[in-house]
Symmetry: C2
Subunit: 185 residues, 2 copies
């Protein structure tokens, strides 16, 4: 019988290994070794490496819900919520799994459409906050909230990518400074 805790171990191991080595940079063997479960156990829980990858993408997105909640905290002025949210995304040695999968797996339709959907939710969350700021006059009306949110999120992914290469967290600080200028002008 499949052991439910093996499933969780594989999910957590897959997240760590995909994040560090990339989706194609590792095999199922690396994941089960990291998880400390027998290889046979993998197929009791997941149809394929792709199926695991898609589930991990969803898990990663959900694990970041707490950070996105900052965007909806009505007690904080909208412009500050965006700043705090961008600060909270912080630094990770291996970058953002959404960005990494976007780069590596956009050619695989199941991943591309899942990623596209996640970006839509993400843009919606940031845009809702921009809308409030545009209404209270603290955020620029340069464009509609969705287009501005798209630019912020894509630029965040770009800044994270550059940070991964240069190993310099100041890139993210400078990025936040420029976004502050962008949204407040």
């Amino acid at each position: 019988m499949p052991k439910p805790n093996h499933r969780n171990k594989i999910l957590n191991a897959g997240l760590a290994v995909f994040h560090e080595q990339g989706f194609h940079g590792c095999g199922i063997q690396d994941i089960v070794t990291y998880a400390g479960v027998p290889k046979g156990s993998f197929y009791n829980h997941f149809k394929s490496k792709d199926a695991l990858g898609l589930e991990i993408l969803k898990m990663y997105w959900e694990a970041n819900a707490e950070k996105r909640a900052i965007l909806h905290n009505e007690k904080v002025p909208a412009i500050e919520r965006i700043e705090k949210y961008l600060e909270a995304t912080g630094y990770h040695e291996h970058g953002c799994l959404i960005g990494n999968f976007s780069s590596e797996l956009a050619g695989a339709e199941a991943f591309r459409s899942s990623l596209d959907e996640l970006y839509q939710y993400w843009i919606k969350d940031v845009a809702a906050c921009i809308k409030v700021g545009q209404q209270d006059g603290s955020i620029s009306k340069e464009d509609n909230p969705e287009n501005m949110a798209e630019f912020i999120i894509a630029s965040l992914e770009g800044a994270i990518l550059k940070t991964k290469v240069s190993r310099d967290q100041k890139i993210l600080e400078r990025f936040r400074k420029f976004i502050r200028v962008f949204i407040s002008k």
Copy 2:
């Protein structure tokens, strides 16, 4: 004896295959098959897949020198040069090889340091143009030219990444519009 034309065939095939499938998404066999050369020929010209990847990165960078030359055309106002350069980077279904390798290979030191060096040259080229624009008053003095160039390049990579996922070239158009606002304000 190694056939020199095989070397070029492998380089061109490697560029196409790495760009489409990612570095780890393909094997040497895929590259020699694409190139139409015998597998044994690969090791006559390249020590390893890594060695090929590093050479292709350099080749890709050099192939884009013509576009970067736009940034140095003194007959065109600095702000327009940046706009024209960003337009010239255009759209590619598989994104930017520099961005793709940044995402996939920043964990491998030889790639990370090569990529970091390329970004430094790239920033220098864009920054030189920003400096001229800051002197003639057409470009914002929000920050020093290097930091502004870094933001533009990282955000360009982010916009290209998002375009790859959403298959919507308007993302790049909107990115250029926002960068125009950013540099001219």
